[in-house]
Every structure is written in C-alpha cells, then in structure tokens.
Symmetry: C2
Subunit: 430 residues, 2 copies
C-alpha cells in the first residue's frame, strides 16, 4: 500500500493530538484513502524534551531544512505564530506540498498571500481547525454558500474568555482569580492577552468573513474590545436587566458595507448564545434558503482541534485540487453600532458622594438619550454603580459623564431586546 508522507511543524499539545489521532484511526484512514499515512518528520524546538506522545527520535528535528528535504506530501502546521511559520509554509507550498493548518493568526495576517501561493502551485490549503475547533463550521458554510446567500455570521469564537466569563458569574470571583484558575486548568496561556484582549476571536472572525463574504476588513479596522476590565459589577447589573455578557464576534454585510466587531456584548438570558457555558463555542448563521442555524461544540483543546486537522488531511487526500477564491481586504468599515439592537448598555462607576442616579438621568435626558431601563447598586464602600439600557448613547456621553461627575463610564452593545419572546423561548430566531 502506497504511503502519504506527512511532516509536522510543531509537536506541542495539538501536534501530539494529531499524532495520537492518526495512530488511533490509521486503519480507518487507510481503508478510506487506500494509502497509509506516515509521519516522516516533525520540527520541534527541543528534541530531548519529554512529550505526552512517544515519537521515534529519528523523526524529530530542530532544522526546518530537514522537513523540506524529506519531501513530504502534506505538512501539518501546528507550531503557531507568524514568523518564521509563514516562511516555512511558503517554502513547502513552493515545493508542491499540501498544507493543513490550525494557525488562525497566520491566516488572518498572511492568508491572502498563502491562498494566492497555494492556488499558483495547485496545492490544497486546509484550515478547518483554525476556527471553532471541533465545530466543522467552515465546511458547513462552504456547503451553504453553494446555494445560499449569507448576510451575517456571529458567535462565541474564543473558549478561554467564555470560560472566564462563565466562571466569574457562577463562582462570583473577580476576573484576576478566574484567569489564574483558567491558567492552572490549561484553558488560558501564561500570557493570556491573545485571548482576553479579543485577538484570537478577531483572527477567527477575519477568516469567517473571508470565507463568507470573499472579503474582510483589515485587522486594524475591526472593532475589538477585550474582557479584562469586566467586573462582578458589570455581570450583576447586566443580569438584573435580563442579559449575560458574552465576548461576541459579529460579521455582517449590509448596504455593500462590512461590519465586523469582537466586543463584550449583552445577550438576553433566554437567547441560545447566552447559554453557551465554559469553554464551548457557538456559531449562528442565517442562510437565505436554509434559514437560521446554530452550531455548538468545543472550540478548542487537544483532541477537537487534532480531530479537525486530521479530518482536513483525510479530506484533501480524496479531493481534486480546486483554487480558493482570492482573499481581499476592504479598507473601510460601516460603523458596527449597526450590528446592535439600537440599544446600548452603559456601565457607570463612581463615588456616591459626588453623584446620584437622578443627576445621571437628568444629564442623559438633556443630552437627548432615551434611557429604557436602569439598575443601581451601592456598595458598603459607598461606591455607586449604575447600569442602564438606552438608545442614542455615544462615547461622548460617557466622556462627559466622566468629566462632570467623575464617573467611569463604559459602553457595550446589546444583541437584542431581552423581551424578544423568540429568544427567551430559545429558538435560534434572530
């Protein structure tokens, strides 16, 4: 039986999972492919390091040249990062090697070049594992796009931040403690910024936009707001108003414009996306024909990601090459306020001595802001916290509230009115 020679760039958690999966499914895969999958080289930082998965020492190398020269048919890129990863992947494509990658940062930053290069050399570039881990959302969207027009995709694309927000609410612990816990559990990196500042979700959203719309905004033009400054106060006041705060990624095409954003967003408690707990991901999409669909599953982790990688690998081996549509960037965004329900949530924090809720309301009324609902919370330490839902709120109002009353004010979008019956009843309706 002929052999498919696979090279690995990186042999960390996901890389180890890929090796385990290929071994565990070898028989099934060979039967389907008519070929044996064999790992012939693995690029690692340290060949002597102890690993969860046992690998023949002769396969390990610290020199990329060894991978390039072992003329592999397919490379699985799970080393992450952009440099030197991009140069490695480019060199392999130029040698006619198919590429399977789980690297969302690489795709979001250099995807356009890689797609163009892969097309030019007639090799597959597969990246199902880069978005929503075990949820095969890219394949599903490709399938819909054969017949459907898709106007919007949104979801919870980062498991780490969703875990942190769930834990903050359920264990009622401050952000810092929960982050520490997430790091101990391996849900968060030692340097958590890529997750908690929203970069990871942003990269995934960019990839989704390229797939669904054939274009995206440049990364720098996508609204991004992290979760690091969310407190128990935010979570409690939002909940009193009927919402749960989720780090929501949204992409919509409208009036020929693109709206893309990754922001902590108030989701009605009854909405399906509000019920996604822990490290789960969810993607909601509406097709012109199929209507609205919701996909929920584990967004990350060794095995779900490895599974997606090996599915890609097995799939491309059965597929004739077809060129990818080029990835394009559109320089200007349409303000993504348009993505929200028209309502915004304003979280205010300050010293009771200096301001009363009445003053805040009076100020907003004069500023022409229509406050729909409001909830107030006093702390022993005489700290005043106000959460309000209003239409017509703008950043300038937040600034003025800060200047005139010494309040810290922060705005967050609201997905839907919490009284939306459909949502409360838990349909997938928009």
């Amino acid at each position: 039986m002929s052999v498919v020679k696979v090279g690995l760039l990186g042999l960390g958690t996901v890389g180890g999972g890929v090796v385990k999966t290929i071994r565990a499914q070898q028989e099934k895969l060979s039967a389907r492919l008519g070929r044996r999958i064999e790992i012939v080289k693995a690029l690692v930082r340290d060949t002597r390091k102890q690993r969860a998965v046992q690998v023949e020492p002769s396969l390990l190398t610290t020199r990329f040249a060894d991978v390039l020269e072992s003329d592999v048919d397919i490379v699985v890129e799970v080393m992450g990062g952009v440099e030197p990863t991009y140069d490695y992947v480019r060199a392999l494509i130029q040698k006619g090697c198919h590429v399977v990658t789980a690297n969302k940062e690489l795709l979001a930053k250099r995807g356009a070049e890689l797609v163009e290069l892969a097309n030019r050399h007639g090799v597959h570039l597969a990246y199902e594992a880069s978005v929503a881990g075990g949820i095969p959302i890219l394949g599903v969207l490709r399938q819909f796009l054969r017949t459907n027009d898709i106007a919007e995709v949104r979801g919870i694309l980062n498991g780490t931040t969703n875990f942190i927000l769930s834990q903050m609410e359920e264990a009622q612990l401050p952000y810092a403690d929960v982050l520490k816990r997430a790091q101990e559990l391996g849900y968060a990196e030692a340097d958590p910024r890529a997750d908690v500042e929203g970069w990871d979700a942003l990269y995934k959203l960019y990839i989704l936009a390229q797939l669904v719309f054939g274009e995206s905004l440049p990364l720098s033009a996508i609204e991004r707001q992290g979760i690091a400054d969310l407190s128990q106060g935010h979570i409690r006041l939002a909940k009193e108003l009927g919402y749960r705060i989720k780090l929501l990624a949204q992409a919509r095409r409208e009036d020929g414009g693109l709206h893309l954003s990754v922001r902590p967003t108030l989701v009605p408690l009854g909405h399906p996306l509000a019920r996604i707990r822990d490290a789960y991901n969810a993607v909601q999409v509406e097709g012109s024909l199929v209507g609205d669909l919701l996909f929920t599953g584990k967004g990350a982790g060794e095995l779900p990601t490895a599974s997606a990688v090996v599915e890609d690998l097995a799939f491309l081996l059965t597929q004739p090459f077809t060129p990818h549509p080029a990835w394009r960037e559109r320089p200007t965004a349409v303000p993504s306020s348009r993505l929200s329900s028209g309502l915004d949530f304003c979280f205010l924090e300050g010293t009771e001595a200096r301001v009363t809720p009445e003053q805040v309301l009076l100020f907003l009324e004069r500023a022409g802001v229509a406050v729909r609902r409001l909830t107030v919370q006093y702390d022993p330490g005489s700290v005043l916290r106000v959460g309000l839902l209003a239409a017509g709120l703008r950043e300038e109002h937040a600034e003025l509230l800060g200047r005139d009353f010494g309040l810290q004010a922060r705005l967050y979008p609201v997905l839907e009115a919490a009284d939306d019956r459909g949502a409360v009843e838990g349909t997938v309706g928009w």
Copy 2:
C-alpha cells in the same frame, strides 16, 4: 459551456423550490461547476395544474419513459413514496444516472438496494435533504466519522410534531385544534399520520443509524410511539416536574447492540433540546474526539429542503465517485430502556371516586417501584390525573393500575434527571 441535464421526479412544493433555487443560483453554480445546470424533464401527475413556479410546458410529462429517454445526467427525486418511485430510481441508476433524493421513506425501506445498485453502476446517490432539511447533518457526520467514533446520535427530527407540541404548550389548546392549525399553516399534511405517529422521524433515524453505525435495526424493530394521545394533562404535569415532552429520536450502539427509538420523551426544561420550538429540528451527537455538538435549524419547508437538494447536486458534480458502505440490518434490538436516564414518567388518568394518589403510591411501593416525584391534578369533573417519576416502572405495572383502579396509565422515557446542572445551565453536555 457544457450542460448538466437534470430531470425532476415530482414538481410539488420541494420540486418547485429546487427549480427556483437552481434559477436563482444559476450564475454562482455555473461558475463553480464550469457547466450550466439545465432542467430538461419533469415528471408530474397533471401537466395542466397551476404551479407556484413557471416551467416551460414542453418540460412537463406524465410519462416516466420521457424522463428515462431524455438521458439526464442527474435526477432529483422529490415525488415521495416508495411505489412507483423505487422502480423509477432503479431504472435511472441502471442507465448510469446520478440520483439526488429527499425521500426518507424510500431510503428507509429500499435504501440497502439503492446503495448496492448505485455502487454497482458507479453513480452517486445523495440524500442530505432526507434528514433534518437545512441542517447538513449527514455531511457533518461523514466528516466526523473520518476520525471520530460516534456512540450516540439523538434529536428532534420531525418539525410538524415539534410545532404541535410547542403550540399545545404555548396556546394551551388540545391536540386536535393544534393539528388543525398546523394543517392550515401547511406544517402538517391532510393525512398527518406519517408525522404524528412518528414514521417520518423513524425513517430519518434509520438513515442516521446506517450512516453512523453502518447498520440499523429493521424498521419494524425500532420502538415507535406517536404524539396523538398526548393531552394538556401530560404537558402540564410533566412541566410541573421540570420537563418538556419532545418527540425524541435516539440511536445508540452499546455492548455491540443497537438501541433505536422514537418516543415522546421527557426532556429537562433546561436541556438544549427542550428549547427547540416550533418546526425547528435539532441533532445532538458526541464524537470520541470532537466531544458533544448540537446542530439546530429548520428541519423542513420548501426552501431549506430545496437548498439541501441543490447543495447535494452541486457537490456530487465536483466529486469523483466513491462507493457507499453497504447498508445492513441487524435483526435484534437491545431494549432501549437503556437509552433513558433509568427514570420513567408515568401518566395516570382516572376517576377520583375510584382511586386516591395514596392507593397508587402504596401499590407501586408494594410492586417494588421507587417513586421519586409525583404531582397530582384534580379536574372539576372529578377527573384525577397523576404524573410520577419512578425507577423500575414496567408496562405490567401500567396494566395492573388499569385493572385494579380503572386508571389509564402510560409510560414515557425520561432523558435526564431535571436537576442535571449542566443541562439546566444549557451546555450541550450529556
């Protein structure tokens, strides 16, 4: 540009949707396929009938021979039924024609022969549209199966019955009134038996089992219970105990045995499947690697189904032929009580004069049945209704309660204990 000649068997609701979809997406499809899709013949009952979609009269025929002789490349079978459909499809396969069908009954009753025949003649047999309409569940499962082992699939596979059960609860109307309403809205057929007796869900479950396990029980060996005898009493008492009644289809392989069932099942109110409303479908699956996933969307309707048909059509035109695994039937089932939580729900109805709840409890205690929770309801008309959750309930107990106390007793499985926190919080956890 070369042409793909498509024949239609049937031009009803879904057939009309297929025509509309092909026309609306013609440009996109031609670009992807490099060929124009052209409908060359459509088999109908009555060529003069008024139709929602305008079709060149010369394309319409009442003679199957006309379709066969117009040597089509692909036939889209949306006429439904088994006879004469099976003979038509077989004749077309034997002519080397690819088949796309949405006909779950045909597949469940003659799928084994059709798969074998298609393999022998090297033609595609595509049927994504036959299960869960717009949710591309078959494609997703095929993808997982490349690398995952799947032990269980379950879901809400029939939109009509889910609509009826949702409406009975929300509008608090009796079954008959809601069924009438569903028929007026086009959610239910004039003859609703295929839906309300569980046949439609049963056929879909059979197809899922063939795909996931490579085998199924014979249709006659699959436990099936319809919804026609469910009353407001059932719904209310179940809800008081923390559950919602759903027509749940479940397939599990265990200890080398298969458990398949379609039954009204008590689902905890907090469980994601309890929140699927109206005509929506949902499929829950657990992969050995990807973990648990939930897919939700519209299960039927002209456009979702037509979309799935055209997706299949476009997909198979880009695929090399690969034989399907043979469909097998395994004669014996393992009792599907094993699918439930170990608890059962017993709904009792009778005349207060003849029996008290205490007598029922005493009887069950003596019979060795452990009653966990119980709720009682007296009607003005002195009708007594009892709903109880118990372990160790068997049909014979129901019969004895009928004989000794003149009670109508009916048993229903319970998916999970309602206090399962994960479920209540709405994760997809099992």
